[in-house]
Symmetry: C2
């Protein structure tokens, strides 16, 4: 997926503004298993995923807890670093060989104050992410593990093919053993 299309899918901007963003980006490539962002660091890179899949995980009580997957068209960023310039709580690693577009968040921040179209693009990006996160929260809080698994199967069947079940279980907030039990019911 090309960067121009990824940007348009968030919010279509006039060509001049889009060009400014495109010029900030550089295409990078990382193999499976590469750490894109590190917990405890103030990160200044933001990535758009052109090809591949990544996961975000936070170390909690000595365990790595997966709370997000990103694939083609999605944006990889430590919100804590990006918004508050503080150390983030998440590691983000590639789960496949990935092709990404990398942007510097400081330079992006400058554009937000220079170009109103880009500022609105940034606003709409955050708003969309917010809705998705809020829906995840509600689903997490009020649906059973089985219901959440079925919803994931419907909404993102490809994830189950591309990501190992231990990570999926963590994402669903259950143990791998529980997930395995749930899967066994449907066969």
């Amino acid at each position: 997926m090309e960067l121009s299309q990824i940007l348009d899918n968030i919010y279509p901007m006039p060509e001049a503004s889009k060009l400014r963003l495109l010029q900030l980006a550089r295409r990078v490539h990382y193999p499976k298993g590469h750490l894109l962002l590190r917990a405890g660091k103030i990160e200044t890179s933001l990535y758009f995923i052109s090809k591949g899949i990544v996961r975000a995980y936070a170390p909690v009580n000595g365990q790595d807890l997966t709370f997000w997957f990103g694939k083609e068209g999605q944006t990889v960023v430590s919100m804590r670093s990006y918004v508050e310039h503080k150390a983030g709580y998440e590691n983000i690693e590639t789960l496949e060989d990935c092709e990404l577009f990398e942007l510097n968040t400081i330079e992006l921040g400058r554009l937000f104050h220079k170009d109103i179209e880009i500022a609105n693009w940034g606003r709409i990006f955050a708003e969309r992410e917010l809705i998705q996160t809020e829906e995840r929260l509600i689903s997490q809080q009020f649906h059973s593990a089985t219901e959440r698994y079925r919803a994931l199967m419907e909404d993102h069947p490809d994830l189950l093919q591309r990501v190992q079940l231990g990570y999926i279980a963590s994402y669903l907030g259950i143990t791998q053993v529980s997930l395995s039990r749930i899967r066994a019911e449907f066969k």
Copy 2:
């Protein structure tokens, strides 16, 4: 709490931009039990809470599930309506007599495209909400009910005084019976 201060706490703007926002707002007052926003409706009002406390709840499987509380300084908005102009999934009701500042989201949207300071204010508002929601999600997913209750007690002790336990239990993603059990342990 005055509106000017609420806006500044999100992101301080030059006076001219702030005035534009202030002019959009009107002060309103509602008694305890008033429904500010309705699920299934495309809402065009957004509120800043000057005084009082509100809760957001979604009807899921015939139950009302509380997933958010707002108090002084916070913003009441149906993200679905505000961002996507679609029917929202939440009801939001006052739990106390409330003093609020009401804004029309359509007019606010116009300002986003006219005034870059306001656009950035809107961006930062969404980004902050996003971080909070993401942290709630992680806490919800990876901490036990007891840990979540203790965290709530530390972070928002006033909530426990101002909100009935049935709503708190729902907010924590557990039943009222479970919450009662947890509370009994600490005595």
